[in-house]
Subunit: 315 residues, 2 copies
């Protein structure tokens, strides 16, 4: 049977031709209802995705996402129907890591105040001792997978050895030390920066809650480049008001887009970017490369060699 | 004769006691007129500095600056009177380099637009192809001394090998290639970022002038962390208006503080910081370490082993 892959991600004619060299047929979103049975999906769309996945005359057995996270997919249905999911883990890690270093430097090197002073034409030098070096900050990274490791690697280039938090506390290259989630309090007392780079799973939803923030005493920078759901946003806002946390850089939010009326927009000690850390023109090709490798194997022998996720774990 | 060093830089009682262990006497700005002959000066002050240096009953033979640049000293007088000058070159390079990486990421990772959108509560994602990776930018650094090398080293950690421009074009570690100032046009055509990290000398005043900027065709980022005088500010403003240069981050200016009425403050594609890249609490100790080493030798045998400048060259 010819594999029919519904592409919910834009493809150029050339890209499509290359993918069809595998022997698969690429179906577009405009035409999917006339192309049953669809057997795989590339990318996702909140309307077409579920409709095509669950259509009775389709036989979807594989989804290749263009994202690292898979939490927005209907995972219960997917698990019940033995659909395999491969993701684009790794592709976005360098750009997410670069943005994360940018967030750290934005606050540590005094850009946040400079931007506000510039708007008022104020030449206002900080106190010399108010600024520091990224090299000497104690950075704690939650999540030591592809993203966490990419951040650690860049920090190492600054002479900074970060600490890591993961499920078991297993050691990871590039980290000075790693502890389990249960032991994270041992790292937090004198931490300067906390970075969330965990996937969204049942174990991480609202991990950063009121109790978490209340144990902090003037943490310099909190950064979320993982998932919005990992942070109780109201608890973070309280922590920023009560100075448990002094600054935050947030790329992901509990609800996206962030509500136009959210008071978070106006916090002077918060930098908001609209879920863009994964964006870079350099990222398009590697996503297609992963898809093509998987598609080639899928057509040949039904295997998926790159980035097969564990749907039960959620990543 | 006891060496009498006028300290124009604040010292704690403990620091002063440590320095006096060398056998020298530390004189404060409040008391300098009663302490002739002063034989050396630590730090500088635009009023007390020249007065103490040129007072007929003083015999100043050495100035230890707390800065890397020495261009603000009365160099002609200093040269004519055989005063030696040691500087704090190297101390500020890590913090200047960290700020420079922050400037690059601020523009390359889309923070500049995000900050403006945040002020208006706009959730406005950039086009995926509008953002890039620092890893793949072509960066050209003017000045391959301590600051330029520190920037190159951090860039190397991002997988980026920058190009360098120096007087002779001699090769320098950490740079992919270096050319002489006369040949810099060979590097500029497809450059993404230009960074000025040159000292202020007669050869570098207004090096970045109208002719320089007009050869650029949409340079993504221009950064000045060297000296304000190296840039013709009006020419840069024109280049930003005519898109020869798309963005600029400026820490130093032709006149400081930057005039409250300068139109530069309002350029939406410019980040202004008030001459602060050298600030970091970690920098205080190394400056004193340099001074103490030099003072110890100076008292013992009149030599200055650390960071002796060539006053004729100006650095």
């Amino acid at each position: 049977m010819t594999e029919r892959v519904l592409a919910l991600q834009p493809l150029t004619a050339e890209q499509r031709a290359q993918l069809e060299q595998t022997g698969a047929e690429i179906v577009t979103a405009a035409d999917w209802e006339n192309q049953a049975p669809i057997t795989a999906i590339f990318g996702w769309d909140h309307e077409v995705g579920p409709a095509a996945l669950m259509a009775p005359n389709n036989q979807v057995k594989w989804i290749q996402t263009v994202s690292a996270g898979i939490d927005y997919l209907p995972l219960d249905w997917i698990k019940a129907h033995n659909v395999q999911v491969t993701n684009a883990s790794g592709v976005y890690s360098p750009s997410i890591a670069e943005s994360t270093i940018g967030y750290l430097l934005y606050f540590i090197r005094g850009f946040n105040e400079a931007v506000k002073n510039q708007a008022g034409h104020f030449w206002q030098q900080p106190e010399r001792n108010d600024l520091g070096l990224l090299a000497s900050q104690k950075v704690v990274i939650y999540g030591t997978g592809s993203i966490g490791q990419a951040i650690a690697k860049l920090l190492n280039g600054f002479g900074n050895q970060p600490y890591g938090v993961n499920r078991s506390g297993h050691p990871v290259d590039g980290f000075k030390d790693t502890v389990s989630l249960a032991d994270d309090h041992t790292l937090l007392k004198d931490a300067d920066a906390v970075i969330n780079a965990m996937p969204a799973t049942s174990a991480t939803v609202h991990y950063f809650d009121d109790a978490f923030f209340k144990q902090l005493d003037g943490l310099n920078v909190f950064i979320n480049v993982g998932r919005g759901k990992s942070v109780d946003q109201q608890a973070l806002m309280n922590a920023l008001l009560y100075q448990n946390v002094l600054h935050a850089a947030l790329d992901v939010f509990e609800e996206e887009p962030l509500d136009k009326n959210s008071r978070l927009w106006d916090y002077p000690n918060v930098l908001i970017t609209p879920h863009q850390t994964g964006f870079a023109k350099e990222n398009t090709k590697p996503v297609l490369d992963i898809f093509k490798k998987n598609l080639t194997s899928w057509v040949a022998d039904g295997s998926l060699p790159v980035n097969l996720t564990d749907v039960a774990l959620g990543y």
